[in-house]
Amino acid sequence: MELRPLNVSSKSKYKTYELFIGPNHPGIEGNFSYVLDMDGHKVAQVTPDPGLLHRGFEKLMERRLWTQNLALIPRICVPEPDINEVAYCMGVEHLAGIEVPKRAQYIRVIVLELARMGAFLFGFGGLGGATGLYTAPNWAFGDRDYILDLFEWLTGGRVYHIYQYPGGVKNDIPEGWLDKLSELLDYFESRLPEYDKLIFKNPIIQRRTKGVGYLSAEDAIENGITGPNLRASGVKWDIRKAQPYLVYDELDFDIPITGDGDAFARALQRRYEMAESIKILRQCIKQIPDGPHRVKIPNPFQFRVPAGAYYSKVESSKGEFGYYLVSNGDVKPYRVYVRGPSYSVSLFYAQKAMVGMRIEDVPVWIHTMDICPPDFDR
């Protein structure tokens, strides 16, 4: 992208100019940038500029064994890595016809919901950062660390867990872990009202987010927007309910709908869903059955997935996260396509949505849309 010199008009200094948001910007998770053509305070044109984060995961996966890839793919989504592992494993299991034991499915749900909560906290922090409420990031990241502690105990790693395996999960839940999880949920329940006070009732946050970046239900569907953003626009759609995978059909939870379609609705939507995640986790603790946590599969060097193609998906904190896996019956995948939920929002819809927006609303829009560059710049 070549830089244009500032267009200095004779009437007003700096009336139109080019502004880079990113690639190294604290308001964006990952190295990605928008080039904004500004007209005074207003955005006139948006050019997304991806590529700085492109690591060629899809190609790299073709060169690695089916199970070796499990160490690679969590890196596609940094705030919520487990969705990659689970979606990938579910796809492999579908192709190979592996039946996953109930206990493993419950453990997967626990991991997914914990990761979702972590990602939402990340989002709260980001919103605070975008609006200048710096207490929010401090709180959110501090609380997220408690989730990471649990992950560290369960899986051995804090951020990249590399815990799923075709056929189940690598280790069973350690003794006492579920009690600790229960305590953590108690803690989060006591914390949520505090977040409400700090963020959602805060008049400054409300002023900054209400009415910003309105997205109608129609536009949301047309532009391939999924997940909480879609629900914030009033479309009742959640893969966990509509096309349940794992054991979500055995769990009782609601799909909250805010429906206003603006930035505040999207932020609030995540706050509601966090409460639902706590509800799901509580049920998992109660319902998780005894039994094996995996079925055995052939060793990595001889693990051949029968030829075929399947699209497996999970509902992530950002929307539909899918893996299109193609196997030709070999020990390595023939092709893996990753569908990141941020793709259509940040690369396409942003070009329309941000036009006419004031410069200070841009980070708010980015954060409430939960744009996560690694999942499209993969």
Partner: protein
């Protein structure tokens, strides 16, 4: 879901259920626009993505259009094959405007030309002059070994056993 599969089969296409919530349908290149437009009107309004698979041995690229119906809770994978030698495909932008970015990406990584797409400029890559990198005939290992000092060793340092032959 079976209604759709039957309906598509009656239209002379090869459709079959894929999983619990998904079906796939293989469509000749010329009928893709027609079928996608039919599916869109039948409720598959959300466009979830476009994947490309390089079947180098068949000399074909496979494009996979991924649609979701929120009303029926069904996912549709519409597959079509195009020639690998002269990969040209119609753009689906008149159905979903957001195809623009998906097609732009596939043009960059596979070299498929989409007729009707106004912007197929380089997207993710910068100054890329080599083979489109996601094609099967692009060797990442050779590329990185040429570019960097790193050498990957298949033997991992273990000598093969001595054999008198």
């Amino acid at each position: 879901m079976l209604d759709f599969v039957e309906k598509l089969n009656s239209m002379g296409l090869d459709a079959k259920p894929l999983g619990k919530w998904e079906f796939e349908v293989t469509v000749p290149k010329e009928r893709v626009a027609e079928i996608l437009s039919y599916l869109k009107s039948a409720g598959f309004r959300a466009f979830m993505g476009l994947a490309c698979v390089d079947w180098i041995d068949d000399g074909e690229f496979e494009l996979v259009y991924n649609l979701q119906s929120y009303g029926e809770a069904i996912q549709a994978l519409v597959k079509t094959r195009i020639s690998r030698v002269k990969p040209i495909m119609d753009s689906m932008m008149q159905l979903w405007e957001l195809c623009q970015v998906y097609e732009r990406e596939i043009h960059e990584f596979f070299g498929v030309k989409f007729v009707g797409n106004p912007n197929l400029e380089p997207f993710f890559l910068e100054n890329w002059l080599d083979t489109p990198p996601l094609r099967k005939d692009f060797d990442t290992l050779a590329y990185s070994q040429e570019l960097f000092e790193f050498k990957e060793d298949e033997t991992h340092g273990i000598e093969t056993p001595e054999r008198i032959e």
